[in-house]
């Protein structure tokens, strides 16, 4: 594990700036008049599926031209600017990588294409950062989702870019890998990098991002310090779906808890509504332990998130 350095290692402050950026496809507006500036630190781009997060990230990544407005990376337009990639790393959402390559070959190829001075050393370091050493010589085609994701992250940071853009980086990762990746991103942010990641899972953004951009139906619904936005978000019931070894008994036990607003068991799916988002995971863990029920899965539902977003938009 690499120790966190005390001071920033990134010399020049990197910035991403959107000025009234919009993007439409025919009559469909995917991103609508969005303006913000990103500086060093971690920013979470939060929004339901189809809200325009990927379109926004693709515009910042130089893969889509804005239909109107400007998307600037370090003061230069992102579109049509290949030199920008010397200082920018991208982790696309799509799982595809070169399946016939080993993880090591893939990361090394990215290092060479980035023209780093010592590609071998850079690839070794990046693979170690994402803890992919044990699988580095296997073809990517044999990787699990989480391993692929880590290989993609290693490839994106192999040239140590000051700006890192990640589209749903935690998809497919198990909880341990997720924690490790969050630690890695925090470490890179502490080194002075500008990191923007998208997610449709509120909890991921809550745990990682200092600043948050909430995008709903192509518009920026809220932006700023996460704690302030969270207060808006937590001031209303949240819904989780739960899978356990005995959903019915767990439901009965949960109903007795004061912070549980409601429990339903429809078609074998246990759904729990809670008035306290923050303490719910502790509450359910305590109840499960007391009733000797094993928890398999605990997911904040998209519907809950959608209602948070509509709540924000209304507010």
């Amino acid at each position: 594990m690499t120790a966190t350095r005390a001071g920033p290692i990134v010399d020049a402050p990197a910035s991403v700036e959107l000025e009234h950026a919009s993007r439409w496809y025919g009559n469909v507006v995917a991103v609508n008049d969005i303006s913000f500036t990103l500086r060093a630190g971690i920013t979470g781009l939060l929004g339901p599926n189809g809200a325009g997060k990927s379109t926004l990230l693709h515009m910042i990544g130089g893969f889509l031209a804005p239909s109107s407005g400007n998307v600037l990376v370090n003061g230069e337009p992102a579109w049509g600017n290949v030199e920008m990639y010397r200082g920018l790393g991208l982790v696309p959402e799509r799982e595809s990588a070169y399946d016939f390559m080993s993880g090591r070959e893939f990361v090394l190829a990215n290092a060479r294409m980035q023209k780093v001075s010592d590609p071998l050393a850079a690839a070794t370091k990046a693979i170690s950062l994402v803890e992919l050493e044990s699988a580095q010589d296997r073809p990517i085609g044999t990787y699990s989702k989480g391993m692929r994701q880590r290989a993609k992250v290693a490839a994106a940071l192999v040239h140590e870019p000051p700006i890192l853009i990640l589209d749903e980086p935690f998809n497919g990762m198990d909880p341990r890998q997720r924690l490790h990746m969050m630690g890695l991103l925090r470490q890179m942010a502490a080194e002075g990098r500008t990191i923007l990641f998208s997610s449709h899972i509120l909890e991921e953004v809550e745990r990682l991002a200092e600043t948050v951009l909430v995008i709903v139906a192509g518009r920026l619904a809220a932006s700023g310090d996460f704690r302030q936005i969270r207060r808006l978000m937590t001031d209303r019931p949240h819904t989780f779906t739960v899978r356990s070894s005995n959903d019915r008994s767990l439901a009965a036990a949960l109903v007795a808890e004061p912070k549980i607003a409601g429990v339903s068991l429809d078609d074998g799916l246990l759904t729990v509504r809670t008035s306290d988002f923050g303490s719910f995971s502790r509450t359910i863990a305590g109840v499960a332990r007391a009733t000797r029920i094993s928890l398999f899965e605990l997911l904040p539902t998209d519907e809950s998130l959608e209602s948070v977003f509509s709540y924000l938009v209304r507010g």
Binding site: R23, A30, G50, G52, S54, T55, L56, L57, H58, M59, G61, G62, F63, L64, A65, G80, V82, E83, M84, Y85, R86, L88, L90, P92, E93, R94, S96, A97, Y98, F100, M101, A109, N110, R112, M113, Q114, K115, A155
Partner: protein, 245 residues
């Protein structure tokens, strides 16, 4: 030319099962020549047979099919599966990506077309046959390069490059160029035959090009430049769609 992209492209193109089918097709050309020779084909009959074999099987069938699969797959497969973003998100000019992809596609096509044509020609004719074999080999090198340029550009214009490419080969090259003299000027096959004819010193019934060499050379250069310029332009403006459909 970028060596990393070249290596990736080479592995991509050669790793596929369809490459094995192309090898079989190339092998079939040589096999036909061997069978012809083994069954006593020689003399004037051998020259005529070699001309027909290399023209119909070599230039009209093997060359466009090989170039179609390699040309459309060189960057088209990365566009299809999304891996193209790993090339685009690098400080590499788009034209370098196109030149590299085209060079590798053309190299693979030439290897799988020109070598079998040369071997089949030498076997069937029992030797160089007054420049006939070298002529067809040269024609296939030029034709492969042109076809690859067209098919690389096509894969950046449409997501169905393989189908449109096949239709182009069958309808434009196979049908229209045979029926109408005007369309022959734009036919890669006819241009390749013109180059072959320029080198070969054989009777007209063995090989007779329907395009003058100068016309073929000018049109070939024009087609190549336009196709490459189109591919560079398309990749320069290539957009990776944001939301998943």
């Amino acid at each position: 030319m970028n060596m990393v992209i070249a290596q990736i492209t080479l592995r991509q193109l050669l790793n596929r099962r369809r490459t094995l089918l192309l090898l079989l097709l190339a092998g079939l050309l040589v096999l036909i020549a061997i069978i012809f020779r083994a069954t006593g084909g020689d003399g004037a009959r051998a020259l005529t047979f070699t001309g027909r074999l290399l023209s119909t099987f070599g230039l009209a069938t093997l060359m466009p099919l090989v170039a179609l699969l390699f040309g459309t797959g060189a960057i088209g497969s990365e566009i299809d599966d999304g891996t193209v973003v790993y090339l685009l998100a690098k400080p590499i000019p788009r034209r370098t990506i196109i030149f590299t992809k085209l060079a590798i596609a053309a190299l693979c096509s030439i290897l799988l077309t020109a070598i079998p044509i040369f071997l089949a020609g030498m076997i069937a004719a029992g030797g160089p046959a007054d420049g006939l074999v070298v002529g067809f080999t040269l024609g296939s090198v030029i034709g492969s390069l042109l076809y690859c340029a067209i098919f690389v550009a096509l894969s950046l214009v449409t997501g169905r490059a393989l189908i449109f490419g096949l239709l182009y080969v069958l309808i434009w090259e196979g049908l229209l160029a045979a029926l109408f003299a005007g369309t022959r000027t734009f036919s890669v096959r006819q241009q390749s035959l013109a180059f072959a004819d320029a080198v070969a010193n054989v009777p007209a019934h063995v090989l007779e090009a329907q395009l003058p060499l100068a016309t073929a050379a000018v049109m070939a250069a024009l087609i190549f430049v336009v196709a490459v310029a189109l591919a560079v332009r398309r990749l320069g403006r290539f957009e990776v769609s944001g939301e998943r459909a």
